[in-house]
């Protein structure tokens, strides 16, 4: 059972629950007090000791149900072994490779003995010449076969499975453990000598393959989930936002939300950092005038740190429609990290969207913004003019201005002079462009003209780049 618990911990880690050694020790101790008798209590125990958030509890609950939906090896019943017959014992030797599965095999034997009369009649005559696996298959005792698969699986270290590409290897290993090569020989012999029995064995073999494949698939689901997810996320992080497929959009949203959460965790906590600067000579002298200016008390200058102020301008026109979704999602998360954020969206003209982003869920906010200004043809010139007319006052020398857009202005006047004035008023201007550097300046792209007034211009085409860019912006205020 200990083995089983360890396997369950690994499965739990696979499901995304962080199980530390200390927690697994707790769970072990708890289980030793609780026992295994009541599945429901065992489940509660695991939830209480291992999972430390609501999400983890849900994941662990699912994982528990999946894990224990597998045929559970019944507790070893040693005395029953005596009356199980020779062939029953033989059949298990194929999977006898490790000690951990000991319980399974003996119980398999016990089951075999119960079903003995029927199965002996079925495969009684030719069994002497056949290998153990063939005999077992012909007896068609499902419990016995399941147990044999389970023990062969643990001998083939099935819990190590990580990627779906490994399915073939592990199926092969398990079948090898069970003695498939001997079975093949038997099958060849039988088709020559006893075709009807051979056919039956063939069918049973196919069923066995299916069962093994099923076992491997389930193990992959249990143990491989985290790796697979990491791999997929890694690919997704580096995929260009503008070219992801529709079916990936939801996953991408989840990923961006994860990134946003990470940013929030990292930057939302005010960190106490040493703020003491150089010695303030003048104040020190003044303070110690009473002692004839012998500096008993020292006064220090303080490093000045700006409170973060961000103004975000987000292009939501047709040319960047696919990316702007994610931009807006990230701005939404910015609203949670930084107190003072004002955000604006534009295509042909510009509106303020701070309220919408602050009050609504990301999905609702995005839908509303898109319906208000989205999908138009972009006009950077007039949008910038809108901004200058109404909200120029929002920019102070502490403000970072972020512009998210491709700078494609449909050959209209780009009004780079307004961006210059914005740059002069603000701390800095960061331009994040979903297009690659190669495309800047070609066609109707006005990027080079704008770039002269920006402190930083970055390509921002993938989730990873997006995270880097925003993290850098927030970090300058820390």
């Amino acid at each position: 059972m200990r083995e089983n618990l360890h396997r369950f911990f690994r499965a739990a880690r696979g499901a995304g629950v962080r199980v530390s050694p200390a927690e697994s020790i707790d769970a072990m101790r708890a289980v030793s007090k609780i026992g295994f008798d009541d599945r429901q209590i065992l489940r509660d125990t695991m939830l209480v000791t291992l999972a430390k958030t609501q999400d983890e509890k849900r994941a662990l609950g699912d994982c528990f149900d999946l894990f224990f939906s597998q045929p559970e090896p019944p507790p070893p019943s040693a005395p029953d072994n005596d009356n199980s017959d020779e062939s029953g014992e033989d059949s298990q030797s194929g999977g006898q490779a490790n000690g951990g599965g000991g319980g399974n095999e003996s119980s398999g034997g016990a089951h075999a003995s119960e079903n003995q009369p029927g199965s002996a009649a079925a495969g009684g005559q030719p069994s002497e010449s056949l290998g153990p696996l063939a005999q077992m298959l012909l007896r068609q005792d499902r419990n016995e076969i399941q147990a044999a698969i389970a023990s062969a699986a643990s001998a083939a270290s099935l819990p190590d499975i990580r990627y779906f590409t490994q399915r073939g290897i592990f199926s092969g290993r398990i079948l090898e453990q069970m003695g498939i090569s001997r079975l093949r020989d038997d099958l060849d012999n039988l088709t020559a000598t006893n075709p009807s029995l051979g056919e039956r064995l063939q069918a049973a073999t196919d069923a066995l393959r299916d069962a093994v494949r099923e076992t491997v698939a389930q193990a992959l689901l249990l143990y491989g989930r985290e790796e697979a997810e990491n791999l997929r996320n890694e690919i997704l992080r580096n995929a260009p936002l503008s070219r992801i497929e529709p079916r990936q959009v939801d996953e991408m949203r989840a990923l961006i939300r994860k990134i946003a959460r990470r940013l929030r965790e990292r930057y939302s906590k005010p960190r106490k950092r040493q703020r003491r600067g150089h010695l303030d000579v003048r104040r020190t002298l003044r303070r110690n005038a009473a002692w004839g200016s012998i500096p008993f008390l020292t006064a220090w200058k303080r490093k000045h740190r700006d409170r973060p102020k961000i103004v975000a301008l987000c292009d939501v026109s047709g040319s960047v429609a696919r990316v702007s979704d994610f931009f807006l999602l990230l701005i939404h998360s910015l609203h949670e990290v930084v107190d003072d954020v004002r955000s604006f969206a534009f295509s042909g003209h510009l509106i303020e969207v701070s309220d919408i982003l602050e009050k609504k869920t990301p999905e609702a906010a995005m839908a509303e913004i898109m319906s208000k200004v989205g999908f138009g043809s972009s006009d950077y010139g007039s949008s910038l003019a809108d901004f200058e007319d109404e909200w120029m006052g929002a920019i102070t020398p502490q403000t970072t201005v972020i512009v998210l857009g491709d700078a494609r202005s449909n050959n209209l006047d780009p009004r780079a002079d307004i961006l210059r004035r914005i740059a002069e008023r603000s701390k800095r201007v960061v331009w994040l462009n979903p297009e690659g550097r190669m495309a800047w300046g070609f066609g109707d792209s006005e990027m080079p003209r704008y770039a002269t007034f920006c402190s930083v211009v970055r390509q921002c085409a993938t989730a990873k780049q997006l995270e880097r860019a925003v993290s850098d912006i927030v970090a300058t205020y820390q």
């Binding site: 530390s20 125990t45 209480v48 999972a51």
Partner: protein, 315 residues
């Protein structure tokens, strides 16, 4: 008062808490049982008013132990949570003992000798007598054990969590001047949190984690039954069903168990025999704490009442 003995089973915990008027779900009972068996603190999370604090009180009553409560808030530090030196007393004593000191030191010929003699007294003024124990230290000093309730830990600063780590994992605290104080008998520690901020992993790792959500209908009926005995069965069923309907709405603050109990009391006071739209409209402010929530719920009231009544017939 029963002496403190570990409960034998989960059922014993359940019935023990029920005797105190706390109807625990199976999960809660399991967590309490485990906390006792493997001596671990419980971290209880969940929405406000589902009985997190009540749980600690019920455990203390049931075991006949003292409940020591530490209410967390922003700016709580070790002087208020752990221990403090009694400065005034130290000062007063030095003044009183001034003459005595002179006497003791009188025999010393040189300054050096006087200093030597002073050293012999050790740290008289930094001994146990001058320590003012605060809740955490008090909890460790209880000879019969106690229930230590650290309430709303999410309201405290992140630094305070680190202060708790030692007491949570080893049931001891270290006072620099005195050394390490270990628990006479390990207290049952219960931490509650409203998830206002995420707690650190180090803290979570040391605790059993219990999430109390809104109870199921049956359980809530039992809770009302034990807390408000005067209420009739029909009314109880109807009102709990009604509250479960209310919780499906998108409200700022969903009514939790404490509101259910308050409302049940109000209904009993008003001598309502049955739930009807009028009485609900009059008393909805007991259930919902925001004007916007009440406005959102009002148009739904009659449908919910109908639903609740139907459930009563068939359930």
């Amino acid at each position: 008062m029963p002496e403190h003995r570990p409960a034998a089973s989960i059922e014993a915990v359940e019935s023990g808490l029920a005797a105190q008027g706390y109807i625990a779900s199976r999960q809660i009972a399991t967590a309490v049982y485990l906390a006792q068996q493997i001596e671990k603190p419980i971290l209880v999370e969940g929405p406000a008013g589902v009985g997190k604090t009540e749980l600690a009180k019920a455990i203390a009553h049931w075991r006949g132990q003292k409940l020591i409560r530490l209410q967390c808030y922003e700016g709580l530090d070790e002087a208020k949570a752990l221990y403090e030196w009694k400065y005034a007393k130290q000062l007063l004593y030095t003044q009183i003992l001034k003459d005595k000191l002179g006497e003791v030191l009188g025999g010393a010929a040189t300054l050096h000798a006087a200093l030597e003699q002073l050293h012999d007294f050790g740290d008289v003024f930094f001994s146990k007598e001058f320590v003012e124990p605060r809740p955490l230290l008090q909890a460790l000093e209880q000879p019969a054990g106690c229930v230590l309730l650290i309430d709303e830990i999410d309201k405290s600063d992140a630094e305070f969590e680190s202060l708790l780590l030692e007491i949570l994992s080893d049931f001891q605290v270290t006072i620099p001047e005195l050394g390490t104080v270990s628990a006479v008998s390990p207290p049952t520690v219960i931490l509650t949190s409203n998830s206002e901020r995420d707690l650190g992993d180090a803290l979570k790792r040391r605790c059993l984690h219990l999430h109390i959500g809104f109870p199921e209908q049956r359980l809530e009926e039992r809770i009302v039954e034990s807390r408000v005995p005067g209420i009739s069965q029909t009314l109880r069923r109807q009102m709990v069903a009604f509250i479960h309907e209310i919780r499906t709405l998108d409200l700022k603050k969903l009514p939790s168990v404490s509101e259910t109990i308050d409302w049940a009391r109000v209904l009993v006071l008003l001598q309502a025999a049955e739930l009807d739209t009028e009485i609900i409209k009059d008393t909805l402010n007991v259930l919902l704490k925001y004007e916007t929530d009440i406005e959102a719920a009002l148009p739904q009231v009659s449908t919910f009442v109908a639903k609740a009544a139907r459930q009563n017939v068939f359930g």
